[in-house]
């Protein structure tokens, strides 16, 4: 893994292309502050991992990037998050089209109680990404192939998505997110409900998705962060403690808290 990783990282630094910039982001749930003054640059065509102990705010921060926190009445976000240089918390920005550009995969697989085909076609249909059935078929197939699920389900596209196994369901949800053609893909602990085999399939998938998207993944597993990401951010008690290349974070952490966490002393 190491040699491949290194070359990729050099490529990454060459094509240094910032996709999402967070500036002084603070999040409050009622009176409680969940995120304190976070600044972070997320790169395009890179997998960025958010790690940290439970309740450290990593999922909260992830949900800021596509304004999913808007659905929680007591949540309040301050500061700026720029997507391609444009502030997504600007008054003029509508969260609905934003979420089409910044897709999300959730912790628990949540396929709709519809057929596999309709699950994947949901986003394209809503956003009018196809003009006819043949085009839609193409998008669905491409998305399912992208999620490494096509071969398993191509003969039963009309069966309910809820009938698939847990790992297949999660890949279906990834295909559903991919079919909308987002620019950034947010994944909130996508493997926490999966067994090791399904986990490794999803991880392989994340590695492929990096070709086309900026992927941000929240994970509890440091091994997973080390396996799939190129950049890692360590959160602790609502603060972004350390952010850098994954290899550096895991081999030469700068902050004593990061070192304690990755060596298993806190968390």
């Amino acid at each position: 893994m190491d040699s491949a990783h290194l070359t990729e990282r050099t490529m990454q630094t060459m094509a240094d292309d910032i996709k999402v910039q967070a500036r002084n982001v603070q999040v409050f749930y009622g009176d409680k502050q969940a995120i304190k003054d976070v600044d972070v640059d997320i790169l395009d065509k890179t997998v960025t991992a958010f790690i940290g102990p439970s309740g450290c705010g990593k999922s909260t921060f992830l949900r800021c990037i596509n304004r999913m926190n808007d659905t929680i009445p007591v949540a309040r976000v301050e500061g700026q998050i720029l997507l391609d240089g444009e502030d997504i918390y600007d008054r003029r920005v509508d969260p609905v089209p934003l979420r089409a550009r910044v897709g999300m995969v959730f912790q628990k697989p949540n396929p709709f109680p519809k057929s596999i085909y309709d699950n994947v076609a949901y986003g394209p249909r809503i956003h009018g990404l196809s003009r006819n059935r043949a085009e839609l078929d193409g998008i669905v197939e491409q998305a399912l192939r992208g999620a490494a699920l096509w071969d398993e389900v191509k003969d039963r596209l009309s069966e309910p998505g809820t009938g698939l196994s847990g790992g297949q369901q999660q890949r279906l949800c990834i295909a559903r997110a991919v079919a909308t053609a987002p620019e950034v893909l947010l994944m909130d602990e996508p493997c926490s409900a999966l067994d090791p085999i399904a986990t490794s399939q999803v991880e392989e998938l994340i590695d492929q998705l990096r070709q086309d998207y900026s992927v941000v993944i929240v994970t509890h597993s440091m091994q997973q962060a080390a396996r799939v990401s190129q950049k890692t951010a360590f959160f602790h008690l609502g603060n972004l403690v350390e952010y850098g290349d994954t290899d550096d974070i895991f081999t030469r952490p700068q902050d004593p808290r990061t070192e304690s966490y990755i060596s298993g002393r806190i968390g």
């Binding site: 596509n66 999913m68 659905t71 009445p73 609905v96 089209p97 934003l98 979420r99 089409a100 550009r101 897709g103 999300m104 959730f106 628990k108 949540n110 396929p111 709709f112 109680p113 519809k114 949901y122 986003g123 809503i126 956003h127 309910p160 809820t162 949800c173 559903r176 997110a177 909308t180």
Partner: protein
């Protein structure tokens, strides 16, 4: 001894048994309750239940069997010759019971003494006069008077023995349970067994009652079909019952009225109830929800007769004066439209409350998933939440439909009593339920088809609503697990 006294004594024995049982095991354990198999209360309950259950069972059996046995013995006092022409043994036995009852009242009101009652003869003029003066005259044949005196005697003896036997039984079993009590005795298992038996008994009562109701409907319906052809009942389009004979008892006009009114009611209740539920579960803030939901549910608590008054006094005249008469559709205040509208209002809370629960049961993760793909709130509701909740909503609608079909009071006051088949919703029509009431009100002759038809109508209604309920449950069950 009166039964109430027997009951009180048995309960007192049980209470004493509870205390004694608990104390005894406490003493036997030497104060260390860890040595006991069960907690002390179980030992107490064990004694109490042993005192109660056999005694009460015997009491019940005795009270059930006593009248039957006494009746049979008393019957032997009356020779066939004492039964007048045109009377049956049953009627004479009824007279015996009446006379015995009169004597009992006379004794309890101190008109005559117990001894006088026991030795009363028809020619005992002085006692008879006192009875007459107290407005408790006894005018009967010597045979019946004799039988009545025997009846009284036997009831008296029986109730004395009943008291003795039941109390003895309670004491005996309590003593046995107390004797058996020891720290190793598994009192908890015994008590739990008894409690389980009681629970099973209660559920059996509910089931047996249902079966009984259905059987009585079925038997009366069979009687009806022996008097009236079933083809004419199910397919007849005329409903003209007349107790003089020559009635037409076709149920189609009633079925038509029932379905027409229910249809209009659902047309009102389903959209309003469903949209209210969507607002409540998807848009309303917590404060609005906590206020509005109970208010809507108050509608469900209003007695249907009040809705009926509303239909009769307000809605009916309003529809007649503002819509039916100007458009030349009818002059009747009672109409299908009146009953349907008011019944629809009645059903709104059913539909909205059930649908609200069902929509709330759709997991938040599905909404998040849809919003996360960039769909709007209303797209999420119409494309994800409602399809997921649809089976449950259909179930709710079917339950509301079966309520509508069984509804009576609103229809009596709102739609009138005219049995007819017509498409005009501003004409008076009537339903199966209203005609059941109509056929059974007043003096009934349970041998005429005009009365018995009510049971056939009831059974028809029962089958229709049962089928709807079963269908609703089936749909709800079949699709419930889809998103779990």
């Amino acid at each position: 001894m009166p039964v109430l006294w027997i009951l009180l004594i048995v309960f007192a024995i049980a209470a004493a048994g509870y205390v004694l049982g608990a104390r005894r095991v406490d003493a036997l354990s030497g104060g260390d309750h860890r040595r006991l198999h069960s907690r002390t209360t179980y030992y107490g309950w064990n004694v109490a239940l042993f005192a109660l259950v056999p005694a009460l069972l015997l009491l019940m059996l005795w009270l059930f069997a006593q009248p039957l046995l006494i009746e049979r013995t008393v019957s032997s006092y009356i020779p066939d010759s004492a039964i007048a022409e045109g009377e049956t043994r049953g009627i004479v036995l009824g007279q015996v019971r009446d006379v015995a009852g009169t004597l009992n009242r006379a004794v309890s009101e101190d008109v005559i003494t117990d001894v006088e009652a026991a030795n009363l003869q028809p020619d005992d003029a002085e006692v008879m006069d006192r009875l007459k003066a107290a407005e408790l005259p006894i005018l009967t044949t010597p045979e019946i008077l004799g039988a009545a005196k025997a009846h009284r005697r036997m009831v008296e003896t029986a109730s004395t023995w009943l008291g003795i036997v039941v109390i003895a039984l309670a004491l005996l079993w309590a003593g046995f349970a107390l004797w058996r009590t020891s720290p190793d005795f598994r009192a908890r298992n015994v008590v739990e067994q008894v409690i389980r038996g009681v629970l099973i008994g209660c559920s059996c009562i509910a089931i047996a009652t249902t079966v009984g109701i259905i059987l009585s409907l079925v038997f009366e319906t069979i009687n009806f079909f022996q008097l009236y052809p079933w083809q004419a009942f199910f397919f007849g389009t005329e409903w003209t019952p007349s107790f003089g004979g020559g009635s037409e008892l076709g149920m189609l006009p009633l079925l038509w009225g029932t379905l027409y009114i229910s249809f209009i009611a659902l047309l009102v209740a389903v959209p309003i109830g469903l949209f209210a539920a969507i607002y409540m579960s998807e848009y309303a803030s917590r404060r609005v929800r906590s206020l509005a939901k109970p208010v809507i549910e108050i509608l469900a608590g209003i007695p249907t007769i009040v809705y009926g008054l509303f239909a009769l006094v307000t809605v009916g005249p309003l529809l007649r004066d503002w819509i039916a008469q100007p458009m030349g559709l009818g002059n009747s205040g009672s109409s299908v439209m009146t009953a349907g509208l008011v019944m629809g209002i009645m059903l709104i809370p059913f539909v909205s409350s059930l649908s609200d629960d069902i929509i709330n049961a759709v997991p938040q993760s599905l909404r998040d998933g849809s919003l996360g793909l960039g769909s709007t709130h209303s797209e999420t509701i119409s494309k994800v939440v409602l399809p997921a909740a649809l089976p449950g909503i259909v179930g709710a609608i079917l339950l509301a439909a079966s309520r509508a079909i069984g509804e009576t009071m609103i229809v009596v006051l709102g739609a009138g009593a005219m049995a007819q088949i017509s498409g005009n919703p501003f004409e008076a029509m009537t339903t199966i339920t209203v005609k059941i009431v109509g056929q059974l009100t007043g003096d009934n002759d349970f041998a005429s088809p005009e009365t018995l038809v009510a049971f056939a109508l009831g059974l028809t209604l029962f089958v229709i609503t049962l089928a709807l309920n079963v269908l609703a449950l089936y749909i709800v069950r079949k699709y419930r697990e889809q998103y779990e």
